[in-house]
Each structure stands twice: as C-alpha cells, then as structure tokens.
C-alpha cells in the first residue's frame, strides 16, 4: 500500500482508522476486487492498475467522505473508472498500443454496482482457470496463480522456488502476453471441457502444496506458507466448484499437512511415517480431511486425488505404525493402479504389500518394477529396496541400494537420512 499525500483535511485519527481498515480490506478483498476487474477490463495489467488506484483513492477519500456501505463494490467501480480513465489519458500519448485490441471497458455490460460485487466469487474461479490455462507452461501457471490469485509478490514466489526474481517476473509477463494474444476467454470452462481443465487447476494447486511440503531446500517458514496458500486455494475451489476431485485434493493436502510437525526433526532431518511421533499430528486437520474423503468417495467414482487421500486417511487413523490397516491400503493402491497406472504408485503399493504380506513379497514386487527399468533412476525406489533388504538382514544388498539412492538424490535432508541409514548398517 502506498501512503497518501498529506493533503487530506481529515484529522489524523480518521486517517489512521481508514488506513488500518484499508490494510485489512487489502488483505481480505484485494484479490476478489482484482478478479472482478479482470473480467470488467479484459486485461490483467489494466486490472492491476485499477486495483492499485482504487485503494489509493480510498485512502484519499474515505477519511473525509466516510466509509462506503459496500467497500468492495466501491473499490470495484472506482478501480474500473480509474482504469478506463488512465486508458483514455494514455491513448493521447501512447502511439504504440493498439486500443482496438482490447474489449472496450466502458461499453462492457456489468449492471449496477451491486450485481458487480455479487458475481465476485465466480470471478475468482474464472481467474484460477485463466491462470492455469493449458496453453501456459506448468511453471508459468504456478507463478501466475500464486501472484494473481493468492496475491504473493514476485519476490516471494522466487524465494519459495529458489529462482531469481527476474526469471519469475519474465514468466509472468510472458504468460500474461500469451493470454492476451491467444484471447483466452475469461470464463469457467463449459461442462464438457471441465474435467480436463479442472485437472490442470488441481495439478497446479498440488504442485504448490508439494513444493511447500517437500523438504527439498530453502527456508522452511516460506515453505509452510506455500502449503498454506495451496490449502487456501483448495478450500476456495471446493467452495466454488465442489467436484469430487476438488474435495479429494483438499482432503489429501489437509491430511498430509497434519503431519508437518512430525515429519522433520527440529534440525530439519526427515522422520519417516513409521517413526513419527503421532501425538504431533494435527488431529483437527485429520478429522476434516477424513470427512472430506468420505464425502468425495460417496459422490461418484473415486479419482486419483480422492484415492490418495483415502490412503492417507487410513494411515492417519492408525494409532501406531504397526496397527495400520495395510490390507485396506493395498486394496486402495490396487484401485488407484487399475484406474491410473503409474510406476510410482506401483512402488508405493509394493511397500504396503511388504507390510501386509512380509518383506520378501514387497522386495519381489520392487525388483519387478526396477527390472522394467522405469524407476531405475528414482532414488526412492532404491531407498525402499534398501530398507526392505535391511529388514531382511541382507546388509550387503541394503548397502548397495542405499548408496545408489544417495547418488541419485540432491536434497539435503534426504541425503542425511540415507547417510544415517548407511552408517547404521555398520562396517
């Protein structure tokens, strides 16, 4: 937020009150106002300017004129007016920009202020679908969603993804240009298109979550915020578009998030599921997630997120690792594999199988996957094999597999974990 000119005649108290109210409004409403302005103005950059100018105008006018009864509607109509005004001013000087290229904001039908504000939640949904449009690369979708929908700054996104800010900035500028050039409609896709388009939205949200959840690198505080942002997006999507898979993804994220405190030591080292202190799990998140899984599974054929959430829920309800219902977990993996075959899912199933039928059965399943060569360079496949060999007392094989896994991982906490396991095998 930008400080106003000191030209206001209202008292300093009125100014301070408005300022703190506006800061609160900026946090809670600015992305909603922005989403509506994108629809009304047909352009991201123009909407951003309009949003900025609307908050600036509020800071100047509200101390004297008082707060409007509907601040959001006031911000939307002011932002729209300011953007149109800026466009007109600029048209006199700007010889490069082709104004005909844009929808005329002034003639756009939008009705009165109230109806502008009423459709605001739909606008947020439109914005998510536009930011996750398949013509954009996954990296661009993520950066654009975090900045335009979540309101993160370019610098925050860069920090979270360990990228240089100019790289992220360029991605965002190019993504907006692509959206403009390809004339991507600002709309929630039609029913026929929805499954595909929703997939890409869910993938972006899950990627953001995982980036914040995986202990890969970087500042852990920033990372927790990234996961929180993904969960916020998941909640928003579930609220606006309660499809079974939207609900499934939210459930999956909540149950995984419930283990955040237990899955690393204070020093940042990894703690595997079977060794976690289960009293550190957030049982409120587990309860919410489990209820959502049940709701999702009851409302139609289970999609991949709902099935993964169901598996996470079975783990979450077990009082100890040994008391886990492994038969149910293997069954859920079978279902997942049947519908969405993937070698990584197969690997996870093999680990569950080891717990259900014994280490030798699990090892045979992992070896069968590795034999096909698909996961030969996947460090977790070798780490899982090493673990089963270790439990079977086959130390030489375990050592070789841990070493192979260590050579393939670049993540600090995972490297330290594997080194500890290697050391524990003895000389």
């Amino acid at each position: 937020m930008v400080a106003p000119d000191a030209s206001s005649t209202a008292g300093p108290q009125a100014l301070a009150a408005v300022r703190s109210k506006l800061e609160e409004l900026y946090r809670s409403e600015s992305r909603r106002v922005f989403a509506t302005l994108v629809r009304l103005l047909g352009d991201f950059d123009l909407a951003e300017e309009g949003l900025h100018d609307a908050f600036r105008a509020a800071l100047e006018q509200w101390p004297e004129q008082g707060m409007p009864t509907n601040p959001r509607a006031w911000l939307v109509s002011t932002g729209r007016y300011k953007a149109v005004d800026a466009l007109r001013r600029r048209a006199r000087f700007d010889f490069v920009e082709d104004l005909d290229d844009r929808p005329d904001p002034a003639s756009e039908g939008g009705g009165d202020k109230d109806s502008l504000a009423d459709s605001v939640e739909d606008d947020r949904l439109r914005l998510i679908f536009t930011c996750c449009h398949p013509i954009l690369s996954a990296e661009a979708q993520i950066a654009l969603t975090l900045r335009e929908v979540c309101g993160l700054t370019t610098e925050e996104i860069a920090r979270a993804f360990l990228t240089a800010p100019p790289t992220v900035a360029q991605r965002i500028v190019r993504a907006k240009a692509r959206i403009r050039d390809a004339r991507i409609p600002y709309a929630v896709p039609a029913r026929a298109e929805l499954p595909d388009r929703l997939d890409s939205v869910l993938r972006v949200i899950y990627l953001v979550f995982n980036e914040g959840y995986s202990a890969s690198a970087g500042d852990s505080l920033t990372r927790a915020e990234l996961s929180a942002e993904a969960i916020r997006l998941g909640r928003l999507l579930t609220e606006l578009l309660p499809e079974p898979e939207s609900i499934g993804l939210l459930a999956l994220m909540l149950i995984q998030e419930s283990r955040r405190a237990a899955r690393t030591t204070p020093a940042g080292d990894l703690v595997l599921l079977d060794e976690q202190d289960r009293s550190l799990w957030r049982h409120d998140l587990i309860a919410e997630g489990t209820a959502l899984v049940e709701h999702s599974l009851a409302s139609g054929p289970a999609g991949p997120y709902a099935l993964q959430a169901a598996i996470a829920a079975v783990h979450a309800e077990a009082p100890t690792a040994a008391a886990t219902d492994w038969a149910q977990i293997v069954g859920l993996y079978d279902l997942l594999l049947q519908r969405y075959p993937s070698p990584v899912v197969e690997l996870n199933r093999a680990v569950a199988l080891a717990m259900r039928d014994g280490m030798a059965a699990g090892l045979a399943a992992i070896d069968a996957i590795l034999m096909r060569g698909e996961l030969a360079d996947y460090h977790l496949a070798h780490a899982a094999r090493a673990d089963l060999c270790r439990r079977l007392g086959r130390n030489e094989e375990a050592r070789a597999a841990y070493e192979r896994a260590l050579a393939l991982t670049r993540q600090g906490p995972e490297q330290r974990f594997l080194e500890r396991r290697l050391a524990a095998l003895g000389p």
Partner: protein
Amino acid sequence: MKYLCLICAEKVMEQMPHADADKHFEEYREFTNAIRRSGHYVGCNRLLPPDAASTVRVRDGRISVTDGPWVETKEQLGGYYLIEARDLNEAIQVAARIPGARFGCVEVRPVAEDLQTVRALGFDTQASTC
C-alpha cells in the same frame, strides 16, 4: 519495495530535433504526473548527455579524472525514476510506461533494503530514504 528504473537510449533530448524533444518532454510530463497520482513516484531526474560526464577515481590517494562516462556503450544513461511498487512485476509494468522504453530500454533494479545497507546509509535514523 523500491526500484530504480534506469533509462537508456541511443539519443538523449539534446541530440533530438527540437520538435521531437518537445513532444518527448510532454510525454514525460504526462507519465510523471500519472505516477505521482498513482503513488508510485519516489524521485526522478534527467541527466545531461554523457559528454558532460567526468569519471573520478582515487588510486594511492591521488585523484584522477577522465572525460566521459566510465562505460562506453551505444546506449546512454539519460535519466532515472525511483519508484515504489508492490513487487518486481508491478515495477516492470510502471517501467514499461516510461516514454523512453519505446526508443531505448529501461533497466529495473531493486533497491537494496537489507539491514546493513539501511544502517550504512543512515536510513534507520532518518525519516526519508530518498
């Protein structure tokens, strides 16, 4: 965050035909007014052409002065805007509207705001950072 927008172009005002320069000044007046209104403005200046530059060095306690800018490029530094923006993309959006961006280029550089810099420059004891 503050960003410095450095405007570089092959021709500065003094090297343009009068009518072009007049028009360009008018564009700058409009742009600067606009960013004052929007609150992005922190400061700005136009620089005289590089042939007015002197480059100073001190080596072994002796001052040496040479003519011209310290770096020879086809594009010359013609002026700057110091702006306040929410993030780099907002700064880029403002920089894109600088009239000189259509002829030359604008380099956008974040202003360092780390504690050590703030202390070294005395901004922790002064009200203003500009």
